[in-house]
């Protein structure tokens, strides 16, 4: 690339960003985009922790930036990059910068870190000079060439870029020590002239890698820059090098200069200003002395920072009158793609949501269960039953109802290894599957024949009761349809050998529920069925389903429509699935602890009955 010596950045400049600074990276790309650059200014990111890719916006589209672990690898892959924006911390700024200087293809390194030791800064600076390279910083935000390239966060938000017209070049070359003042100066200059061509902040340290004079001399050589502005600071002698260059005629373009820190003469000598270098050790280093020397050397020096802008305007108008600066045709301001989150926050845009959630909310400081803060749930000791009330039914249930749920969960938690769910979970676990897979394998058996009777029983009994059927009519109807009544019947238990679990549930309900209307109905049904056969008792599934209906219709928290919906959507099987998960996990862990091997069902337990050759033949 044939870039002139005095040009550090142009519209083709390619850079590396050292350090995974996603905000700064996006800001650089946004700037490139509003400047209508053809390609992004970042070739690659160097992230010592991870190689790979980084996804970023290019306008409204997304692009991928490569990420390398070392400067060497990045430089090898992208020899066209000649700038490195170094976000390394003060601890590693020196070694990374020195490493970058060793890469032939890298010419400019901007060092952002604050707190780099003076000796390290001087070594970096001297090394760069010896090699004909340029360091900007340390302790700076960097700089930018308007309409071409920006270093990291320089000039802040995209709105500010637009406000200070930094998306296109003006004719003023600016340099300051302070990075914070750089952006302010862009603003002042854009209000009083056609704006900056290039601006650099060399950093507030005592020994910056490049001096204000270095950049002023570049501006002097650049024919597109018509006037120069600089903002110095008390302390150090950098300004005197500029003054000397002025006196020697090395700076011919008009120079607007101001040195801040005029207050130091009236403040105690021991005040250390914000910048490390901002301390006048001698009378010569004071702001007053420097401003006076600038004035004497022929610079345009305002009376205070307040009229810095006026001086810029005065010189700009003068150059226009002289014809040095042509009338400027302002290009159209680019459109900026608004950041989604910002536009949303300001109420400028809206977006239809794709799904709705009405049970919990994690968007605030603390997660909410049905609108109730989790810490309140815990403080009020709502328990598992209370939490189920909130998350399943969106209701604060009375204590006896929450306790009933917990009772149900305890009852259904396990029923030994032989039932479908546990058996399946055990077989899966023995096959070496993980906990979750094995649990799912067990849960998948829950349905119409296993554990699913709670819902069915609730539905059938509810319907019979609501349609005004007597127990006799109900039993006869079901018999006619040839359907076993769900919730009735047990393999082993019978009238003479009652199910203790059912007894406990009934006891609890009778004691606590305002009414057990459907239960009473179901017990009448049971009397009819057990008269036919001793084991046709109300079983535990049926009892749970029926009592839950009694609970809902009598506790006052549920409307009829809500109850219908709960039955229709099959909430109640959830109780079985949730409770039984406890047991299934127990069985799976048990098998894992035992180191159980792959289960294979014994062949002598299988009746092998193959179809005959004739049977499988095609009959047509």
């Amino acid at each position: 690339m044939s870039r002139k010596e005095y040009v550090l950045f142009d519209r083709d400049t390619k850079a590396f960003v050292y350090g995974y600074q996603t905000n700064a990276i996006q800001r650089m790309l946004d700037f490139d985009y509003v400047c209508k650059r053809e390609a992004p200014s970042i070739s690659a990111i160097i992230n010592p922790n991870r190689a790979g890719i980084h996804k970023a916006f290019w306008g409204t589209k997304e692009i991928l930036l490569p990420m390398y672990k070392t400067i060497f690898a990045a430089a090898k892959a992208y020899p066209e990059a000649d700038v490195m924006v170094n976000f390394a911390s003060y601890r590693s700024a020196f070694e990374t910068t020195m490493e970058a200087l060793q890469e032939k293809t890298l010419r400019t390194v901007a060092v952002i870190a604050e707190g780099v030791p003076e000796r390290q800064s001087r070594v970096m600076s001297a090394t760069a000079r010896e090699m004909g390279k340029v360091i900007i910083g340390p302790a700076t935000v960097g700089g930018m060439a308007a309409g071409a390239f920006r270093i990291g966060n320089t000039a802040g938000t995209i709105e500010n870029i637009i406000a200070s017209k930094l998306y296109r070049p003006g004719c003023v070359g600016f340099v300051s020590k302070s990075g914070g003042m750089l952006n302010e100066a862009f603003n002042i200059i854009s209000r009083n002239s056609n704006g900056v061509y290039e601006g650099v902040a060399i950093g507030g340290d005592r020994y910056p890698g490049s001096t204000m004079l270095d950049h002023i001399l570049r501006y002097e050589q650049n024919p597109k820059i018509k006037m120069i502005a600089c903002l110095g600071e008390l302390g150090g002698e950098d300004e005197y090098r500029i003054i000397q260059a002025l006196q020697e005629g090395k700076i011919t373009k008009p120079l607007v200069a101001w040195v801040t820190g005029t207050c130091s003469s009236v403040l105690p000598a021991s005040v250390q200003f914000g910048h490390a270098g901002a301390k006048a050790d001698t009378q010569k280093e004071t702001a007053q002395a420097k401003n006076e020397a600038f004035r004497e050397a022929g610079a345009y020096v305002p009376t205070s920072f307040d009229d810095y802008g006026d001086k810029v305007r005065q010189v700009y108008e003068m150059l226009k009158t002289e014809g040095v600066i042509q009338e400027f045709v302002e290009p159209e301001a680019p459109k900026i793609p608004a950041d989604y989150s910002k536009a949303l926050a300001s109420g400028d845009i809206r977006k239809p949501t794709t799904f709705i959630c009405t049970v919990s909310d994690d968007s605030g400081e603390e997660v909410l269960y049905a609108g109730k803060r989790l810490s309140d749930v815990l403080e009020e000791k709502m328990g598992i039953g209370g939490v189920i009330g909130l998350l399943w039914f969106k209701k604060e249930l009375p204590d006896y109802a929450a306790q009933f749920i917990e009772l149900v969960l305890q009852i259904v938690a396990d029923h030994g290894p032989a039932v479908s769910g546990a058996h399946n979970a055990i077989v899966a676990s023995c096959a070496g599957k993980d906990l979750i897979s094995s649990l799912c394998s067990g849960l998948l058996t829950i349905g119409p024949r296993f554990g699913g009777a709670i819902d069915d029983a609730a539905r059938e009994f509810k319907q019979a009761r609501e349609t005004g059927k007597t127990p006799e009519q109900f039993v006869n109807d079901m018999k006619k349809k040839g359907i076993n009544i769900p919730g009735i019947g047990h393999m082993i238990k019978s009238v003479k050998n009652p199910d203790k679990r059912v007894q406990l549930l009934i006891q609890y309900a009778r004691k606590n529920f305002p009414s057990t209307d459907l239960l009473n109905y179901a017990l009448q049904v049971e009397q009819l069925t057990t008269a036919k056969k001793g084991n046709l008792i109300l079983n535990v599934d049926g009892c749970i389903g029926i009592l839950f209906l009694d609970l809902m219709s009598s506790c006052g928290s549920f409307s009829k429509a809500e109850i219908d919906e709960i039955v229709r959507l099959g909430y109640l099987n959830g109780l079985f699935a949730l409770g039984r998960s406890i047991g299934l996990i127990g069985h799976i862990l048990d098998q894992k602890r035992l180191g159980a091997r792959l289960y294979r069902h014994p062949t002598d337990d299988i009746a092998y009955m193959m179809p005959s050759a004739e049977e499988i033949q095609c009959k047509r």
């Binding site: 905000n23 700064a24 003060y90 601890r91 604050e114 707190g115 780099v116 030791p117 003076e118 000796r119 001087r122 600076s125 001297a126 090394t127 010896e130 935000v141 966060n153 802040g156 938000t157 500010n160 406000a163 300051s176 302070s178 990075g179 914070g180 003042m181 750089l182 952006n183 302010e184 603003n187 507030g204 340290d205 005592r206 020994y207 001096t211 600071e233 008390l234 801040t260 820190g261 005029t262 207050c263 009236v266 403040l267 105690p268 000598a269 021991s270 005040v271 250390q272 200003f273 914000g274 910048h275 490390a276 270098g277 901002a278 301390k279 702001a287 205070s304 920072f305 307040d306 802008g309």
Partner: protein, 422 residues
């Protein structure tokens, strides 16, 4: 981060401990005792038995020079005499170089009778370091500056390539080799120990060996991370006459715990003009403007916050300033300037949230003290930040004027200072 002075005690301690790494024959033992207001002389003497056997020198060790000229040095005393002198002088207020302060720390070391006085100093500049040497050191070195030789050391080439010998005056005669070796080692020690300034004036030869008599040094405090071993136990005292207030110490502590920058210097606690300015560069310009308008005497503080501090940090920073400025009432009222340039990356809304929290907390005190607030700021999320301030103004019952980047950065200073005392 900057160059900061250290005590002669620490400078000599470092020299005694680490110079031998570069100069085998350097035999200076570093018999040094630092006496502070809390020091028990008997404990000190049992830790440093030489105090009771040697003739002694006692001198203040508080980062100021010309101690002899101010008559603050006790020479050739015994331990009893030294103790008496210390007792009489610790806590005494003196004025040195325009700064008034109390004597709190003294260095006690063996008295070395001598008739030769040499001067050596090393300072840093942009492209390297400069070594200054004179065979005629002591208090008259400045008057005899033409006798001082300057040896430049390039920052990259280092001392190895420098011909010291030919630059030393012939008058040194048989001392020449020892001085050359000493200077070479001293430079290596200077460069490797984080110094940014070092002066030994004078040093002398005692029983054939070099002994430093008076020493002044500054360290580059940014080297702390690399020098943590050599600098162990070292502290940076405040300049003479400067005692940090509780509030300054609090902000200093806050600053040391964050990647952001928080600075506070109280200039005049009774002043009516208080500032809370973002940015090292902008804060100086606000101070300039206040002084330009003739309010230097009313400027209560200098400070800055920058580097994207979080809400909590700006809350504590603001609270500290509000607490200070509302302690005393002034019949003419007070002004708080919340200023700053257009930030590059500091989130204005986030920093202002902390400021607003503190202002709300101090609502009544601000009202009672008749405070007027002026805000000017730009940068990321500034619209939101300024809106926070405007809304606060409506409910706080304290006048707040809010400006953005369309208003010149320091415009609020004449607005505030004109308005408050017209």
């Amino acid at each position: 981060m900057a160059q900061r002075g250290i005590r002669e005690y620490d400078a000599k301690r470092l020299l005694a401990k680490y110079l031998p790494e570069y100069l085998n024959e350097f035999s200076y033992k570093g018999d040094l005792a630092l006496v502070g207001p809390e020091t028990d002389p008997e404990e000190l003497a049992s830790a440093n038995p030489w105090l009771k056997t040697e003739r002694l020198v006692v001198k203040p060790d508080q980062l100021f020079g010309k101690r002899g000229k101010h008559g603050l040095v006790l020479l050739d005393a015994n331990w009893e005499g030294a103790k008496k002198y210390l007792k009489e002088n610790i806590g005494v207020e003196v004025v040195v170089g325009g700064a008034a302060g109390r004597l709190t720390h003294f260095l006690v070391e063996p008295f070395i009778p001598h008739n030769e006085e040499f001067y050596v100093a090393i300072s840093s500049d942009y492209d390297g370091d400069n070594i200054f040497f004179s065979p005629e050191g002591g208090i008259c070195v400045e008057e005899n500056w033409d006798k001082v030789v300057r040896i430049h050391v390039d920052v990259l080439a280092g001392i190895a390539a420098v011909d010291i010998k030919s630059k030393l005056p012939r008058s040194l005669a048989d001392r020449s080799l020892a001085v050359e070796k000493f200077i070479r080692a001293l430079y290596q020690f200077y460069a490797a120990t984080g110094f940014s300034y070092l002066e030994i004036n004078p040093f002398t030869f005692h029983n054939g060996a070099i002994v430093p008599l008076d020493m002044v040094a500054k360290l580059d405090d940014a080297e702390e991370y690399w020098q943590r071993k050599r600098w162990e136990g070292l502290i940076f005292p405040e300049p003479f006459g400067r005692i940090l207030t509780k509030e300054e110490l609090f902000i200093k502590d806050l600053d040391s715990k964050t990647g952001a920058s928080l600075k506070l210097t109280i200039l005049n606690p009774k002043g009516r003009v208080w500032t809370m300015v973002a940015g090292g560069g902008a804060s100086v310009i606000y101070a300039d403007t206040i002084c330009d308008l003739g309010f230097a005497g009313e400027m209560a503080n200098y400070g800055e916050y920058s580097g994207d501090p979080n809400t909590e940090e700006t809350y504590y920073y603001t609270k500290t300033i509000l607490d200070l400025m509302t302690r005393e009432k002034d019949p003419e009222g007070k002004v708080l300037l919340i200023g700053g340039a257009i930030a590059n990356f500091t989130d204005v809304a986030r920093t202002f949230r902390g400021v607003v929290m503190a202002l709300e907390e101090y609502q009544q005190k601000l009202q009672a003290a008749g405070v007027k607030i002026y805000v000017r700021r730009g940068g990321p999320n500034f619209e939101q930040g300024l809106k926070l301030m405007r809304e606060l103004g409506k409910r706080l019952g304290v006048p707040i004027e809010v400006y953005g980047p369309e208003t010149h950065m320091t415009r609020i200073v004449p607005l505030a200072l004109g308005g408050a005392w017209q």
